[in-house]
Amino acid sequence: MLFAFLIATALGIAYLRHLFAVVMLAGMFSLLSALLLLSMDAADVAFTEAAVGAGIATILMLGAMALTERQEKPLKSSMLKRLPALAVAGSFGALLIYAMFDAPPFGDPFAPAQVHVAPYYIEQTAREIDVPNLVTAILASYRGFDTLGEVVVIFTAGIGVALLLGGFVFRERSK
């Protein structure tokens, strides 16, 4: 059901030319993904998706849209010129579907992702970290170095945007 809504929203985004509606639909798409993640019991990821995708990203997209045009320009190229793009997208989609047959079924306890380090985390978190939320224990402690990298990425991105758009205040040295 949620997947059906998700696909309908994606088609809407692809067909609409009015960018305000597209931004709103993209926010809806994020919210639906968050619901989907929540239905898979991934509360932490759903929380992040709702906050980033549906919240902040929508606002920033609106800001970016207000700086440019409200309407997407209609396509000028003929159908024939668009055929290669369709072929590439179609074959890539076919490849993904073909690869899907090799993926372990959803919730398989013996999938490679579940038997690598996950059992160690599940068994040892209560003893080593003593924190009820397993996700926090993994993110902040076991995988702390990765999270440090993520924070540095966010910091760098913020500096980049501020430098590009001129939101950076420099301390005045001398007159």
Binding site: F20, L60, A64, V131, P132, T136, S141, T147, G166
Partner: protein, 145 residues
């Protein structure tokens, strides 16, 4: 946006609860879903909501740009500093076992410090990016939408 009275009143009412909820998510991340990243976003969203409905300059008096820049750096430094502190106390980088007497309380302390660093950086960066966009926008008229 001068005449959106309802929206402005609701935004003012919601401002403090959003900040409070951000702190709840920040410090309750050990027990339930959430953590520094989500808390930072929620904290920033209060200021984004304020910036959408009011003048950005009024929020600047309370939270100046300079503070945001320093805060974004302080968060990263707090995170890396926790890692360095655990090195100085005899462990590996970001190995919080040595931060306190017992390994588990050291882990608790380390996680709280690290999450605080994440929260501070994310909140500051998001408000900074929002303001960078908002500064370029002329005040939007109704028919523009």
């Amino acid at each position: 946006m001068q005449h959106h009275l309802v929206l402005r009143v609701i935004a003012k009412l919601l401002f403090a609860p959003i900040l409070l909820f951000a702190f709840y998510v920040q410090f309750h991340g050990d027990f339930g879903p959430g953590g520094g990243f989500q808390a930072g976003l929620i904290f920033a969203s209060a200021f984004v909501l304020h910036g959408l409905l009011f003048d950005v300059s009024s929020a600047r008096q309370f939270l100046p740009d300079r503070l945001l820049q320093v805060g974004a750096a302080v968060g990263v430094l707090l995170y890396a500093g926790t890692g360095l502190a655990s090195v100085l106390l005899g462990g590996n980088f970001l190995d919080y076992d040595h931060l306190a007497e017992a390994p588990t309380s050291g882990q608790h302390l380390g996680i709280i410090l690290v999450e605080a660093g994440v929260g501070i950086t994310v909140a500051c960066v998001v408000v900074m990016v929002f303001r960078a966009f908002a500064d370029h926008l002329p005040c939007l008229r109704e028919q523009d939408w």
